[in-house]
Symmetry: C2
């Protein structure tokens, strides 16, 4: 954990494998324990497994962290702001934990995402997008609620880390695990688990070239901040966030590297995953497979795991990508 | 098992739960132990889970039975004839068991299916379609091999039954399990396991209306034989076989009923499974979801499991179905 001092002077408490084990106990029966899927289409030097987190009930890994967080709040109501995926994950996790959830969503959010969040029992408050943070803060105050962020929290990171715990249990001799990076909650948790349980396994982050702020930050030793207008260029709409100080600290401490992939490589990976692995992946969830298929020279040889993080994709876009 | 006497006089030894438990031990680590996926889009009276057998390495449940059969042959080579799915399943299972496999395929089989079977280490013998049975018999003789049929064998049925064993373990209070019927190997094994472990669970077979010979046979008490030209009308190309005496005996003994679905309902189910469950299912694999969505009045209320049996679908057809 010495590498933390390369980017900030104050020590920061990182998530531990014990935190992740505790999270695994909490989320059992709420999140699906996804299997590792052996893929016949891997190359001989790098046998391939997919960890299909798109099969979680709300379509992505995010219910793991959300439920780990809400289940420790002793019944306090929860509040979040989100335009979609975190909203559904938190609503699902809160319902499973028996706590009320209020989600502030921009009034421009797609109707289907609003409806799905409501169907999971959450109260949805629609506001102009510029007001969502202040409105969430007001609701926290008024309801005596806990604010649950999408990634910048130790309990969220620990919950997402259960993905890594399961990989280490199922394939202890993995040579490399590929994980998408956006805000860094998933990558931080997975890297923590893998490095604790299987130190010889390389853990490699994957970003779109068009949103590669973390690749730059880890390469230079100082977190890079790309303008949001740059990061929103990629088709991988789930990978447009940047890490917080907390997640960047975990990534600095534990990641072995970051590779980047092009937009065309991401599109092709969605198609490959559909026809070879029989899974519907969103572009953000497919970047690891894009890296596997196109960046072999940057990856160690040996058993390889690609985390396919989610499958929330617009039907029209998906049909276009696979044809 | 008294119902067997309604269709033949000689007793026939049916597969038992002990056979299925032994199969589960043999296939561990070869077949994926698929999870039950909770679906948020089920109706309130019938909470829905999917058993995603399309996630098996060769795209369908068939490796379970194939590996259970080949692993009991003490290293004897195996021979089969198949135009595709059974070929790949047997090749995969034989490679895992370390035995040579020779597959007789029609010279009209799609190149991709031939290549994939060869890639799994099997020897492929291409013959005119009319000669495949005689050629397979010759090879059995010449190689001292065992012939492995796609469904008409107790070891195959016991292997497919592990799907039901896993469902009973994961959701012991299921009210109903829906299973596709073609040759009946999967339905026979699953029904045997469910009735042994969870007698109150209803096990319902599903057929296309256009290939509903088993529905007719069980309703009348005598196996029905539909002309192959009738059975090939359905888009569900994996459901065009008819049961053997052996599988029909299991279905007579254990199934609680059969429902049928239309071609339009099958197409719509493929789309629903893609966008709601994030899985690529072939039409044959989607019939259970078609029944769930359209035949609720014929099904008991309560927790419901749909077995999605496979995902080997032509990309062009799949893209058409989901748009």
């Amino acid at each position: 954990m010495d590498s933390r001092t390369t980017w900030q002077d104050e020590p920061m408490e990182l998530v531990t494998i014990e935190d992740i084990r505790a999270a695994a106990t909490r989320i059992a029966g709420v999140a699906v324990r996804t299997p590792l899927l052996p893929c016949l289409w891997g190359d001989a030097d790098r046998p391939l497994w997919i960890k299909p987190e798109n099969l979680q009930p709300t379509g992505a890994f995010k219910i793991r962290g959300a439920h780990n967080a809400v289940s420790q709040l002793a019944g306090r109501p929860v509040v979040a702001h989100s335009s979609g995926n975190h909203a559904q994950a938190l609503a699902y996790a809160a319902r499973a934990a028996g706590v009320p959830a209020t989600i502030v969503m921009p009034d421009s959010a797609p109707t289907v995402k609003i409806e799905r969040t409501r169907a999971l029992g959450a109260e949805v408050v629609l506001v102009p997008i510029a007001e969502r943070e202040t409105r969430a803060a007001e609701l926290v105050e008024k309801l005596g609620a806990a604010f649950v962020p999408p990634f910048d929290h130790r309990d969220i990171i620990a919950g997402q880390g259960t993905v890594g715990l399961e990989i280490a249990e199922d394939l202890p001799d993995a040579a490399v695990v590929l994980v998408p990076i956006s805000g860094g909650g998933l990558a931080s948790g997975v890297a923590t688990a893998i490095k604790a349980l299987s130190p010889s396994t390389q853990i490699i982050g994957v970003e779109p070239e068009l949103a590669a702020d973390t690749e730059e930050g880890l390469r230079t030793g100082t977190q890079a901040h790309w303008p949001l207008t740059d990061r929103t260029r990629t088709i991988a709409d789930g990978l447009r966030m940047e890490p917080s100080e907390l997640t960047f600290a975990h990534l600095s401490a534990h990641l072995d590297g970051v590779v980047t992939v092009t937009e065309d490589e991401i599109r092709a990976a969605v198609r490959t995953i559909a026809y070879e692995a029989r899974l519907v992946a969103e572009p953000s969830g497919a970047v690891t497979v894009a890296a596997y298929l196109n960046r072999a020279t940057k990856l160690p040889k040996g058993p390889t795991v690609c985390i396919v993080s989610g499958g929330s994709v617009d039907p029209t876009m998906f049909a276009t990508l696979i044809t």
